[in-house]
Symmetry: C2
DNA sequence: CAGCATCCAGAGCGATACTG
DNA sequence: CAGTATCGCTCTGGATGCTG
């Protein structure tokens, strides 16, 4: 969003990577999922049990969107029963830095 | 969100200042309004004209929420016709720093 | 100019049941 | 265990018209 036309076109705003990232992070459970995965990898039900109030449907959707964004990696171990591990990618890990700065700001100002 | 219980209670997550800040920033037009006000103060219709696709209702609500959060100051000049100026508060200005870091990350990784 | 009141559509989120 | 399928609802966001 370096140079903004005036009026700011809706298409330009929606297409901006900063906007897209903020809107993804702003979804209801995204921050918590990233925070948990930022500590260590988790299995699916481990996340499900670890987050009070999230439904399977929404947890799955949240994880899939983060995977599509390249922030989370999903690894299936073809065992019986199946075992699926979620962890942050390198990009996901790198998010923790600016996110930590924003968190520190929020604690002070919110 | 320094020490998370397991499972993370919904109440604790919702009450966390980081969560609240991210959720506010994630609302549809918040980032753009903050960005514009980060450049200079704006009058109401200046913002309205400057943001393609936003309705008066939503612009007003966005500004009022940011005002309630202490990020935006609203100044009414009792002239005829009325003139209302919106600008970032000191807290709002301070947000631009971590937000800039997040923006730089997003440009690289999103 | 800077809104408010009213009404409305749809996205997002959730509960529940079921399955490879 | 790790999901998918359906259905339903809340609640954000939007369109329109009016006003101090």
């Amino acid at each position: 969003m370096s140079v903004l036309a005036s009026p700011v076109p809706a298409v330009e705003y929606d297409g901006c990577p900063v906007t897209r990232a903020i809107h993804r992070l702003g979804e209801k459970w995204t921050l918590l999922v990233i925070t948990l995965l930022g500590r260590r990898p988790h299995r699916y039900n481990e996340l499900h049990r670890g987050i009070e109030g999230i439904s399977q449907r929404i947890l799955t959707r949240t994880l899939r969107l983060l995977e599509a964004d390249g922030l989370v990696a999903r690894t299936v171990h073809p065992t019986v029963p199946p075992q699926v591990e979620y962890r942050l990618t390198a990009a996901g890990e790198s998010l923790l830095v600016p996110l930590g700065a924003l968190a520190a700001w929020a604690v002070e100002n919110y």
